[in-house]
Structure formats: structure tokens, C-alpha cells
């Protein structure tokens, strides 16, 4: 069989055969049929067989019946989908669905994240226990805004309250003063939170002393540095 002489126009073949072309396209295609033997043979062959679809009332009525049956057979979901999205391009539907899922689930997920105890921000910890007295540990201002400072006293008296001061060695300014600290654990370890961003670079002293009598230990001094 000969090939179509104008494949671009020949693509209209099937739509022409079943009468789905606009009048302008019909004209274009029929002029093509005057030249193209292949398309013409196909159209003639099909029209001889399927021409009754257009011509015979009984056939037309049967087509309507089949169509109604097919329409009824459609699931309610697909009918609803067509009602909701009559013209949307195929690719757009999953995009909309994805967007809606994000819209519904996103806030709930974020809420869960915020309420999740595992999601609490972990502070940087500076451990002073190994550098008691003169040696320095360093807090960085450019890091996390808050830093945890861990210290140790020998045998803390659970009935005593301790006073803690953090003083800048250069200026003598007190940046933290707590008079009733009781937060030592059974091993004598304690922790305080320091807002590092407000500190100036320099050396600082953490002094821990008993605020009352009893068997409180001697005053302990830790030293650390704050740098940019």
C-alpha cells in the first residue's frame, strides 16, 4: 500500500472518518484526499462499512442505547471526578491532589514535630569539671545562643542552697548570680544555662559557694573564656 503523501494532514484521517473535524479541517483533509491515494482508500473502505453509523436511524438509536448503558456503567467516583475537574489536564490532577495532601497533613506534621520531646534543641555543653581552677574552657559567641555549663563539687549537701556567680575577670561585671542553687545530682554535678550572645569576649569566673552553714564545701572557682 502507498504511504500518505502528507503525514501532517494524514493524521486527521480517523477524526475525519468519524466526523469529528471542524469544517475548515474537513476541507483541508478532503483536498488532501484528492492527492493522497493511501488516505483515500482507507476512508472509502471505512465509509463503506461504517457509513450506516451516520445514515441509519436504527443504528443511530442503538448507538445511543449503548452510550447510555456505558454512561450508567461508569463508577460514581469517575463521574464525580469529571464533575469536579471537567477540563483539567491529566498531569494537573496529581499535582492538585499532592498539594491538598500537603495542605492537610503539613500543619499536623509540623505540630507533631514541635510537640516531639526528641526534637528539643540540644544546647552546646561546656564541661568545666576536668579543668577545675585555672585552665580555660571556651564558649563561642558565634555558636548557639545558649550554652550549658557543667561543673562539679565534691559532696554536695542536699539540705544546703548554693550561690553561683559568673563574673567577667576583666571588667568585674557579674553576668549571672543565683543564690539558691540546689541542682546538683547525686554525683555532685550541676549545670547552668548561659546566654552567650550577651557576653563580651574575655575571661570569666564561675564561683560556687555555700549560701548557709552546715557541711557545705569550700568555695570552688572555675574559669572559662568567651570568644567570638
Amino acid at each position: 500500500m502507498a504511504k500518505c503523501t502528507e503525514p501532517g494532514t494524514g493524521e486527521l484521517l480517523h477524526a475525519y472518518e468519524v466526523g469529528a473535524l471542524s469544517e475548515a479541517d474537513v476541507e483541508r483533509f478532503e483536498i488532501h484526499l484528492l492527492h493522497c491515494k493511501d488516505c483515500f482508500e482507507q476512508v472509502r473502505d471505512f465509509q463503506q462499512k461504517a457509513g450506516l453509523l451516520f445514515e441509519d436511524d436504527e443504528v443511530k438509536e442503538a448507538v445511543r442505547r449503548i452510550d447510555r448503558a456505558d454512561w450508567k456503567r461508569d463508577s460514581p467516583t469517575s463521574k464525580l471526578k469529571r464533575y469536579l475537574w471537567p477540563h483539567s489536564p491529566f498531569i494537573f490532577k496529581p499535582a492538585v491532589a499532592y498539594f491538598l495532601v500537603l495542605l492537610l497533613i503539613g500543619p499536623a506534621y509540623l505540630g507533631l514535630r514541635q510537640g516531639d520531646p526528641d526534637h528539643i534543641t540540644e544546647f552546646r555543653t561546656v564541661d568545666l569539671t576536668g579543668v577545675r581552677s585555672t585552665e580555660d574552657q571556651v564558649l563561642r559567641i558565634s555558636g548557639e545562643p545558649w550554652s550549658k555549663v557543667r561543673f562539679w563539687i565534691g559532696n554536695p549537701d542536699s539540705s544546703s542552697e548554693y550561690h553561683l556567680t559568673v563574673v567577667c575577670s576583666e571588667t568585674g561585671d557579674t553576668v549571672l548570680a543565683v543564690d539558691d542553687f540546689t541542682g546538683f545530682d547525686e554525683y555532685g554535678l550541676g549545670e547552668i544555662l548561659l546566654y552567650v550572645r550577651k557576653l563580651s569576649p574575655g575571661r570569666y569566673r564561675l564561683t560556687i559557694g555555700s549560701s548557709g552553714g552546715g557541711t557545705a564545701p569550700e568555695t570552688i572557682v572555675y574559669s572559662f573564656a568567651v570568644r567570638e
Binding site: E17, V63, S78, K81
Partner: protein, 176 residues
Amino acid sequence: MKELLARARAGDKAAEQQIFQYLLVRFELFAKRRIRDGETSRDIAQEACVTVLAKYKTEVFTIGFGPWAYGVLRMKIGNHIQKAKTERQNISSESDVDSIAGQSADINCELKTKLLECLKKISDRNSRYARVLNLTYQGFKTDEMCQRLGITPGNFYVILNRGRSMLRLCLDKGEV
């Protein structure tokens, strides 16, 4: 066709006859698609071919021979439809519309049965293909069908092509 036309213009009667036959089968197909009545379509196609052969030697084809000849046919079809409309209006008062309804008398019952069977088979196999075909045959416009079926025109033509191929296969071999 160009060669045939050149020979016919040079006075070759056989070439002229070939052009006549060539155009006649095509014109008849085009006319039948619009008028639906086989006999009337043949008459119109013949009239158009006679006009073409009467004028083609002297005519200057600014748009080519094919489009010009096609234009002649379109004019004949237009005249016929206009005339039929006028006649129908005149006759409608006498309730005699059936006489010009153009129903083909020689309906092939066997083919009709086969055609309906095929449509049913396609419907059973794939209702979407059948729906596109059925809506098309019922005369709905493309955008109406796309809206009803919830598909884009691109998808519509793809489905239409497949549905039509299934119908053709079924008419030829009896299976989908």
C-alpha cells in the same frame, strides 16, 4: 495528477477520462458524507466533474487544480442543500417531508447487525473507547465530548483513533 492534467490539456481524451473517473469517486465520497443519500451524491459528483472538465482548459489555477476542482464540488453541494431546504419548507405544510428525507433504501441488514455487534464488543472491552465513538457518531462536538468524558482534546483523538481501529478490525475480522 499534474502529468495527467498536462496530457488532458494537450488534447488527450483518455487522460481526460482518467481525470473524470479519478475525481468522480472522490467527489462522490465527499458529497455522500454531507448529503447521506447515495443517488443524490452521485448526481452531484457527476455534475461537479462535468463542470470541472468543461472549464479546466481555460481556467487559470491560482490555488492549484485540486483545490479549484474541490471548490466546484463544494459549490454544487451548497446549491443542493440550499435547494433542498427551500423545497422542505414548501412541502412541510403538506406533511410530505418523508419524500425528501434522503433515507437510503438499500440498507445492508447484515452489515447493520455486524456493526452493532462490533460496537457492543468494543463497549464490553473498553467502555471509554466505545463512549468516544458513540458520542462522535451521535454528532457531539469535540469540546462537548471532552467535557463529558473529562479528557483533553489530545487524549480524545488518541482514544478516537484506537476506538476506530478496533471498529475497523471488528468489521474486517469479527473480533476486537
